[in-house]
Symmetry: C2
Subunit: 333 residues, 2 copies
Amino acid sequence: MKRYRLCFLGFGNVGRALARLLVAKSQELRERYEIEWEITGVATRRMGWRASGEAIDVANTDQIPSKNGFHEWLATARPDVLFETTSLNPETGQPAIDYLKASLQSGAHTITANKAPIVYAYDELNEISKANGKSFLFEATVLDSAPVFSLFRETLPGVKVRGFSGVFNSTTNVILESMEAGRTFAEGVKMAQELGVAETDPTHDVEGWDSIMKICAIARVILRTPLLPSDVRREGIRGLDPDTVQAARAEGRPFKLLSRATVNMDGSVSASVRPEQIGTGDPFSSVRGTSLAIHFELDTIPGLTVVSHRPNLQSTAYGLLADFINATRYQER
Amino acid sequence: MKRYRLCFLGFGNVGRALARLLVAKSQELRERYEIEWEITGVATRRMGWRASGEAIDVANTDQIPSKNGFHEWLATARPDVLFETTSLNPETGQPAIDYLKASLQSGAHTITANKAPIVYAYDELNEISKANGKSFLFEATVLDSAPVFSLFRETLPGVKVRGFSGVFNSTTNVILESMEAGRTFAEGVKMAQELGVAETDPTHDVEGWDSIMKICAIARVILRTPLLPSDVRREGIRGLDPDTVQAARAEGRPFKLLSRATVNMDGSVSASVRPEQIGTGDPFSSVRGTSLAIHFELDTIPGLTVVSHRPNLQSTAYGLLADFINATRYQER
């Protein structure tokens, strides 16, 4: 049995869902994985840098001593595992990248739900992770909880990936289905916001940037190819009017915002995000509502599709928990 | 770099495809996994027990010394890894179970494409595997190459499985689609045979026994519940006439032979195999032709579907190769 000191950098919906899931799963973690845990640090823009040398109660953050900035917080909380769920900076990945580096250098397994550090600093973070013998994991970044990176790390050794495609963005799914049902674009945005999948400003989702970040993260890790957001051809869903969307659905070939990446003969990767029509029998024909999916073309399997149906906050939190459990198992190897 | 002695017990289509795949992937195995290999034994009913203390050429089996039965064969070939792909005995799993036991006891990682030993002797084989510090793996048994068992062993730690469903049988898929296209049941069987997915006697597939074996194997390993073929409610596809099948497809809700297992409140498992209609948006709506799929309901992910599209012989062989690579990685831990 080992007792892990956990820190939460970012403590919004996902962080809080993870804290609840850790409580709900604590008996199983003890009995099956010999994991005990306590939280020693939590930080958000609103509450500041809260940390202690001992276990803290995240339900009463006012009672936790406040520290002067990230480094003092880290030195006080001394995490064995840090969960980073701060909001995304899609242009640079900062300051999350610096936080993740410092966390790994301090000797913590470091787990993020943040795509940008993968896109902009994966190789460096991976090297620091190896040099310090600590895991750097990020399973929650693409399909929430459904395995994508661990699939290739563990279950599909020795395959060559020829390309992948995906439905990576819930907001656009909800908007398009809403338009199919006769509502306006704006009403669709509102529905996605009510479902908790869209931000106040949905531009990042609607214009395809969220999908592009996911393509680049997967290309970097699984295809081992540096691909930057500016390398991906991009077309959002704003050009689709309700009539076109409804006609496509009536025809049985509805629109989705589809992500695609293909490995070219010379090893380079071509990628795009754009609305495409999905026919019956298509790998994504079962993808409805907030569901997400990825499809791989492999040298040894003609097509392999993973669909995560209606993932919720607990699903994303589970992605982080799975990384935590796997980090402790890798350590044992 | 380690050089592994490999033995093939059974050397039909799948075994031969694996031998070819090992050759095709040999550089990658060396460079990425530090695996070298040589074959020291091969056995089939027709060629007998062929083995040598040194590397053999499976293209010239007549040149390989013949041994008197399994035990002499095993003692001569001294495998580090044994691949078992003999034909299925769905009633007892024998003699494969005894072969697998002896293989593990001899100190070989033991890999099978055979469902029956999982159904009838998983716990015992797993114990022998642990006692001998050698892997017992069987990823090719359910969806050919797509990860099912390794998904839970590696990528989804700490989840509770509430139930699963699946399209586990290609022969019935092909027969039903053939009937949808206006052909008879017998013509569908012939087509499945031509595609290489159906046996000369398709009863095992058509009556649902193949699917039942897969349900029982998954229940045993992933739900940790002993479930025997006789515990599963069974209805094959013979009761469906072309008119019914065509009408269902016209309605957009085609028939598939569907496998289902549900974990009940008291922990017991209820399971069935029967033709069911699949609507659009159903997890299996993209499953066509020889494709196979599994869908899990998990406590932390509402639905997770894995679809293997049009798996071929090489895909099944890859399932065995993935087990081989993973066995050598587990050993390192």
